[in-house]
Subunit: 209 residues, 2 copies
Amino acid sequence: MATPDTRTQLLDAAEHLFAEHGYRGTSVRAITKLAGANLAAVGYHFGSKAELMAAVARRVIEPINAAQCAGLDKLLARTPDPSVSELVEAFAGPLFDQMSAGGEGGSRTSRLIVTILGDPAEEARSWTGPAEDTVRERYLAAFARVLPGLSPEELWFRIRGILAVTAVDRIEVHHQPSPGCTSPVAGEAARRWAITFLTAAMSAPPTRT
Amino acid sequence: MATPDTRTQLLDAAEHLFAEHGYRGTSVRAITKLAGANLAAVGYHFGSKAELMAAVARRVIEPINAAQCAGLDKLLARTPDPSVSELVEAFAGPLFDQMSAGGEGGSRTSRLIVTILGDPAEEARSWTGPAEDTVRERYLAAFARVLPGLSPEELWFRIRGILAVTAVDRIEVHHQPSPGCTSPVAGEAARRWAITFLTAAMSAPPTRT
DNA sequence: GTCTATAGAACGATAGAC
DNA sequence: GTCTATCGTTCTATAGAC
């Protein structure tokens, strides 16, 4: 393959650094340096740091969104209603799958999702678009059919809970596990653990009021 | 009550702003302005912005830690073994309870916890101390007794899942719920929804390997 | 203990040559 | 499309008067 153009290299570098140090913790200077590009390249290709972040977010979220959508379509086309476990896997699975481009695995993607969803900056609200909301609304409706008796508000809370657990590897606590337990192994294990965890959580009966 | 001293007002202002805009998104200038203090007051009372953040974190986390510890002691002193639900409530409950000082409710505390646990900055690793780890280790052991067959690694993942769900209100997604559903109501409701959600999640059988 | 004033560094953005 | 150079801003930290 030929060397990627400057624009792509900027996106790659920005994705890496935004995931590692957050939006505010990453300077345009650091991005252009890692990309081997000039400082002014960000302004030329994207207009501003914020618009670069928006482009990074779009590139990361789009395939996840598409996979979530396709998974739901597949489940809904079937004759038997989807199970809670199948819905959880279709929704959360793509969030854990590793990026197509990077060889670094889903851990980085997961951390970037947290940066996008959890950044307290005002600009962060524009990093996600209406497409993501549409997918979540569709899953909300699908879960509502399989989980009758759950109020829309509590169901919405639970769907946000899925997103929160997706980001669990961002929570870094001091812990020295006895042996092994290396993080690269945890990447794929975390995906399966999360499905187990979330399927049980979503299946819980409604909270009595 | 007399007006609090400058030091306390700085802590209050910093807690508020760090929760709202994150560590990097909050300037010392904004903190001193909100506290009605001088710019140099932070340097005098705390030494630096980072040490101020550490003091804020200590003040927020300490009572939570104490409550978690007391709750566990109470449960372990009893003759019947604690249930998963009781352990979840003893661990997650204090995380949702509102701060003693603020009238703004637990939502702000919850967002501050995310800032402390989720901030990608390097300094953030020193905001939590060994006391928090000790509490989590104790809960790990308690959960391990009630949930046999679960590997320590998966159990650790689930405990981090509790922390993640605690932060669920930080995940702001565009969603216009049909009627009502105002956020002040969600503060107390979220606490109960989370207990339901997490009890079911923790009780899930081990992931088959 | 509290203030003013400022040092010193890093940042985002951009003008203009090539 | 890529570069150099720089402008203007904002930040933390601190010296020193009161």
